[in-house]
């Protein structure tokens, strides 16, 4: 079933380029996140990276995840990052920089990791196209049904996790009165 017919493949070929364009953009912005000097620029590029991930989710017809990614990551988490950056009021001269040797070694290490994963892929299997078997898989209705029947206990526990994180964050960030 995953193997497409020839006519269908021609039809899809020009639309496939959309995926490759978005993938290129996400790699580019991810590189800019780690290589830009100013942390505020890093946060802004990270927002763009997450936006390209949202587009990937839309292309995969995972609409619920696309919306959640948009709201949680690009909304809540990025605002938190920006807020902390602005709160700490960093100067450019206080930005720590690693030596070139460490940077070079880190890049070599990262490339080795990538090479290992890609090489293991070569052995694994031939390339099979991703075909959407069930069109309403990623919709809110289908996911909600799975979430509230099969995964009800983890769902409830995740609420406990969020509550614990909130209490922990408040506890950590408030000033210690006994030391002051």
């Amino acid at each position: 079933m995953p193997i497409l017919k020839k006519g269908q493949r021609y039809f899809c070929n020009y639309k496939m380029s959309l995926f490759y364009f978005i993938a290129f953009l996400s790699i580019l912005f991810a590189l800019l996140v780690i290589f830009s000097k100013n942390p505020v620029h890093s946060v802004l590029y990270l927002i763009l990276t997450f936006f390209t991930f949202t587009i990937h989710y839309v292309l995969l017809n995972a609409q619920f995840l696309a919306i959640v990614n948009f709201i949680v990551y690009m909304g809540a988490i990025m605002v938190l990052f920006l807020f902390v950056l602005m709160l700490l009021n960093l100067n450019n001269d206080s930005e720590p920089v690693k030596t070139n040797l460490v940077k070079f070694a880190a890049i070599i290490g990262g490339c080795c990791l990538l090479l290992t994963v890609a090489a293991s892929l070569k052995v694994a299997s031939p390339s099979i196209p991703v075909v959407l078997a069930n069109p309403n898989l990623g919709l809110v209705k289908g996911l909600g049904k799975v979430l509230f029947t099969q995964f009800l206990l983890p769902f409830e526990i995740s609420s406990l996790l969020l509550f614990t994180a909130m209490v922990g964050a408040v506890l950590l960030a408030t000033k210690d009165k006994t030391n002051a």
Binding site: Q8, K15, M16, F19, I27, A30, L31, V33, I34, P39, S42, V43, L46, F53, H56, V58, L59, L60, N61, A62, F64, L65, N69, V72, Y73, I77, L80, F81, V84, L88, S94, P96, V97, K98, V102, A106, I107, G110, C111, L113, V117, L121, S127, I128, P129, V130, V131, L132, P135, L137, G138, L143, L147, Q150, F151, L161, A165, G168, A169, A173
Partner: protein, 109 residues
């Protein structure tokens, strides 16, 4: 939505895996290269997101909704992690007046 789902039909699974591997490696490199604690945190977020994308792709590929539910849980976990981590970073900054992780090298021992 019909046209959107058509888009993806001919993208091979391997290309998705390679994309996720590249983003994950970029995250690892970011953790190793930078010394600013907040940027290191952002690199961790990058790694989490690449895994999320891969889980979604495999969920669509197998037609199983459990993968996307797991992505949802990972997102909840990431939100909790960011809240606690940024609180720790604020506290570290208050105590040491810098975000350099080498100030915290006593944690290595």
């Amino acid at each position: 939505m019909e046209t959107l789902t058509q888009n993806i039909q001919s993208v091979p699974l391997n290309h998705y895996i390679i994309l996720s591997a590249i983003i994950f490696s970029i995250g690892v490199m970011g953790v190793l290269i930078r010394r600013n604690a907040i940027v290191i945190f952002m690199s961790v977020e990058l790694m989490l997101n690449s895994v999320n994308l891969l889980l979604t792709v495999f969920s669509v590929y197998h037609g199983d909704a459990s993968g996307q539910v797991f992505v949802f849980f990972i997102m909840a976990l990431a939100a909790a992690e960011v809240a606690v981590g940024l609180a720790i970073i604020v506290m570290v900054y208050r105590n040491t007046n810098s975000l350099d992780i080498n100030v915290l090298n006593r944690l290595k021992w």
